[in-house]
């Protein structure tokens, strides 16, 4: 067997899985988004760009198009919440990762193990537990009222804050793990050197630590931002459904709105946003590597 053929054979399973499980469904989705909606769900095999027109325009009864910002507002809300959740996760995750990386090696293994424990329980169950804790008659409000701190229950559940909290809670490990990997490789003698040279703690963080852990920072941010953008469980259970997000909007199209092409088009828009995020970060990474001469 030639080495070339061996390589081909070796990557064949990967290609097959990517092809069957990713490329084919995406082609079906793209095709559906360009067809006509059938009356009871599904599509009719006629070409139509209506789904993409609907993203920006509302078609009136007389067939005239008027600009309709509804879907862009919903998309922007999802982007904003995903961005905020990423930022908070970063602020929470960095100290945790730093703390773990600065422990003796045998403690680190245990701490990392602790970080992965939440994954043992199903996401839905974990999120629903937060409903029980945060609601008006839940744990926190019961304790607050019993302690005489408030008379009326504090509104914690069914707010944007609750959605953010749920997202941060769910995705924090995805930020901690890559950050830890970068921090673990960090030569802490460099930090000591900076301090010896009269650099303050913030200066050392900004000029020494952050540039060196940037790959972990970028990887963690992507790992959190991308799933947050399409998150369904937290907005649905903790947000109380008072505002549509891109994920709930897509779900609606495949159920009671009976508009599969529009649902497929929305899913493709979401996909494009994710691809854009990944491409931008990849290009920047490549440029930084080229300039840094590593």
């Amino acid at each position: 067997m030639t080495p070339h053929r061996a390589t081909l054979l070796g990557i064949a399973p990967t290609l097959l899985i990517i092809g069957v499980l990713m490329v084919v469904p995406m082609i079906i989705m793209a095709a559906y988004s360009l067809m006509e909606a059938s009356s009871f769900g599904g599509v009719l095999p006629h070409f139509s760009a209506e789904a993409y027109i609907k993203l920006l325009f509302d078609r009136d009864l007389d067939d005239s198009l008027a600009f309709d910002p509804s879907y862009m507002i919903i998309l922007w809300r999802s982007l904003r919440i995903a961005g905020l959740a990423t930022l908070i996760t970063l602020c929470v995750g960095f100290p945790v990762a730093y703390f773990i990386a600065t422990r003796p090696p045998e403690q680190r293994t245990l701490l990392i193990f602790l970080i992965t424990i939440p994954f043992w329980t199903n996401l839905l169950i974990r999120t629903y537990s937060w409903v029980l804790i945060l609601r008006d008659t839940g744990l926190i409000n019961t304790v607050l009222q019993a302690g005489g701190l408030t008379d009326q229950p504090v509104k914690l559940l069914y707010t944007e804050g609750a959605i953010l909290f749920g997202l941060v809670y769910t995705y924090a490990p995805f930020m901690v793990l890559p950050l830890y990997t970068s921090l673990e490789k960090l030569d802490f003698r460099l930090v000591e050197a900076a301090r010896d040279l009269y650099c303050g703690p913030w200066g050392a963080l900004r000029h020494v630590v952050l540039p060196l852990v940037k790959p972990g920072l970028v990887a963690g941010s992507i790992l959190v931002f991308v799933p947050c953008l399409g998150a369904f469980v937290a907005p649905d259970l903790l947000g109380g459904g008072k505002e549509l997000m891109i994920s709930t909007l897509i779900q609606l199209q495949f159920t009671s709105s009976r508009n599969w092409p529009f649902g497929a088009a929305l899913a493709l828009v979401l996909l494009a946003l994710v691809m854009l995020t990944l491409t931008v970060s990849a290009v920047r990474q490549a440029r930084a590597t080229a300039e840094g001469g590593h």
């Binding site: 879907y71 008659t137 459904g241 008072k242 549509l244 709105s257 508009n259």
Partner: protein, 342 residues
């Protein structure tokens, strides 16, 4: 959970299957968590026909399965609004229910329904209503109007749960406004939108899951709900009252039918006739906690279900069955929903 129950019922079935007479079989395709295991066991024992149960979660799934043409189910249980679609698409075969031995047991009210004139294709299975329930410990006033839900008094504001299914919410709003179902007049849908938008600041949550639990725990004091679920909420919190609004109540009926592709037509008719007996359909009602359309089944209901106000609407209440809406009506409904939650 539902799937688990279905799997368990299947396991029970297989375990209790009696001596099947000469390989006689019956394939039932019903909603999940909607078939009493006891009734299937009883049917197998009486007839020797071996029953296999498969489940679905929406009328659309059922339609797609039957349209695909290769599903060999003998009994299906479509909702009233999908019966005309299945008939029109030629997916059902006539059963001529009036010729069945127990047809006379069907309550006059459910004979000859608008979705199947003359009961040529279907007989009633279970029916229920969609309205709302209120905790009378929080609100003391009268509970007879849909206005209570849509323009709530101060003590209920911020304490309300609504469904998050556009078809049910807009249907109930249309009844409250005295508008026809599946309206496709934009000016009418604007009224629906205004009503829901004015109510929105008073709503705490839009969700179609965990409803009776939310009411029972006191998390909300008023919630859109199905009558069966309201009964369950009242079991935990006795001050919960299910409201039959004077404007009318949204109702649904699921019916037994035989698909064109059925392989055991005769057994299917045997099953349908079997389910028209009051003592049999009562077992099903006790399991699903919904009303049936069979005279004399009251005597066989569990006492607490028989006397429940939730499943015994007051006399003179107007029931509204929502048909399947036109594409145009769905489009308008969708627009109302998007504007409401953008």
């Amino acid at each position: 959970m539902k799937r688990l129950t279905a799997a368990l019922s299947l396991a029970v079935l297989t375990a209790t299957a009696g001596p099947a007479a000469a390989g006689e079989e019956l394939f039932i395709y019903n909603w999940s968590d909607y078939t009493a295991p006891e009734i299937l066991a009883k049917f197998e024992q009486e007839t020797g026909i071996k029953v296999t149960l498969d489940v679905y979660d929406s009328n659309e799934t059922l339609l797609a399965k039957l349209k695909a043409g290769n599903a060999a189910y003998d009994i299906v249980v479509p909702s009233h609004n999908f019966v005309p679609i299945l008939i029109k698409d030629g997916l059902l075969q006539p059963i001529d229910a009036p010729k069945l031995g127990n047809y006379a047991n069907i309550d006059d009210r459910w004979r000859n329904p608008e979705w199947d004139p003359g009961n040529r294709y279907t007989v009633p299975w279970m029916w229920g209503t969609t309205s709302f329930a209120v905790d009378t410990a929080v609100y003391k006033g009268p509970t007879d109007s849909a206005a209570l839900l849509f323009t709530p008094p101060p003590e209920l504001r911020g304490n309300i749960g609504m469904f998050k299914t556009p078809e049910e919410v807009t249907a109930v709003a249309a009844i409250a406004l005295g508008l026809p179902q599946c309206d496709d007049a934009p000016k009418d849908l604007k009224k629906v939108e205004d009503l829901l938008a004015a109510q929105k600041p008073a709503v705490k949550i839009y969700s179609s899951e965990g409803i009776h639990e939310r009411l029972a725990s006191g998390e909300v004091a008023m919630h859109m709900i199905w009558n069966g679920a309201a009964k369950r909420a009242r079991d935990v919190r006795p001050t919960i009252t299910y409201v039959y609004p004077k404007e009318g109540v949204l109702a649904f009926m699921d019916s037994l039918a035989v698909p064109k592709t059925a392989r055991n037509y005769k057994n299917a008719l045997t099953f349908i006739d079997f389910m028209l007996k009051p003592e049999n359909i009562a077992i099903q009602s006790n399991f699903a906690r919904y009303s049936n359309g069979i005279k004399g089944s009251q005597a066989f209901l569990s006492p607490d279900l028989r006397d429940a106000p939730e499943i015994n609407p007051p006399a003179g209440v107007k029931t509204v069955f929502q048909p399947v809406c036109s594409d145009q009506a769905v489009k308008l409904r969708d627009r109302v929903w998007t504007r409401l939650f953008q």
